[in-house]
Symmetry: C2
Subunit: 111 residues, 2 copies
Amino acid sequence: MSAAEKYDVFQAIADPTRREVLHLLATKERSIAEITTHFDMSRTAIAKHLHVLADAELVSGTKVGREKIYMLQPEPLTELKQWLAFYEQFWNNKLTKLKYVVEKEMMTDTE
Amino acid sequence: MSAAEKYDVFQAIADPTRREVLHLLATKERSIAEITTHFDMSRTAIAKHLHVLADAELVSGTKVGREKIYMLQPEPLTELKQWLAFYEQFWNNKLTKLKYVVEKEMMTDTE
DNA sequence: TTGACATGAAACCAAATGGTTGTATATAAT
DNA sequence: ATTATATACAACCATTTGGTTTCATGTCAA
């Protein structure tokens, strides 16, 4: 069961419906039908979204009887976290500069 | 100059070219032409990507002479960070379990 | 002022995306 | 055995996306 790797994490989370699905699966495992009840679209559409998420390995599904139960697999989000970490230094710099300015102002104001 | 808000951060970073553009702008401000030299596509295509990024407020451009200089605006990434933070608790749980196992092994190994 | 340069904007296009409906198959319940 | 349920899969469709080419405009340099 290798990943076709057609979709990566970035693409997978780009769609708001898929983010909502992830959020639902964060609470607990759910069947396709159960997930569908939370949306205003067909079961097939949701199944497709789940395939995209599974392709990005953000969820995994196992067949239980006639149901397919999907569960969250958050590991691939580490890639996103690492990507973000690189940019954090930039907005942290801004905050640092701001903090410096504020503190300087406080000193000149109060003394 | 309000945001048309057609694109959000999630969509903006979904495209690998746009992520590369962001990475380039992290180093320094650059003109459209300069950015284009790093890619194998037309200047117009890059300009479109920059519009998407600008729409998501991840970059801003100012005209200087006949050039348009774009710079990184990392602030909207905080939204992404917050989104991620929610899911971190899940994979942290897994890591915590792993850490526990490792430490337990170390103790039994070294003492 | 004339030409080269940098961009803007419009028209166009193929492929991908996000949805639908319809049909088939496997499992559960009566 | 029959019916209802849960899903799979294929075909189809409209819109969006990511790219192109072409033409117009503004600015810099000679």
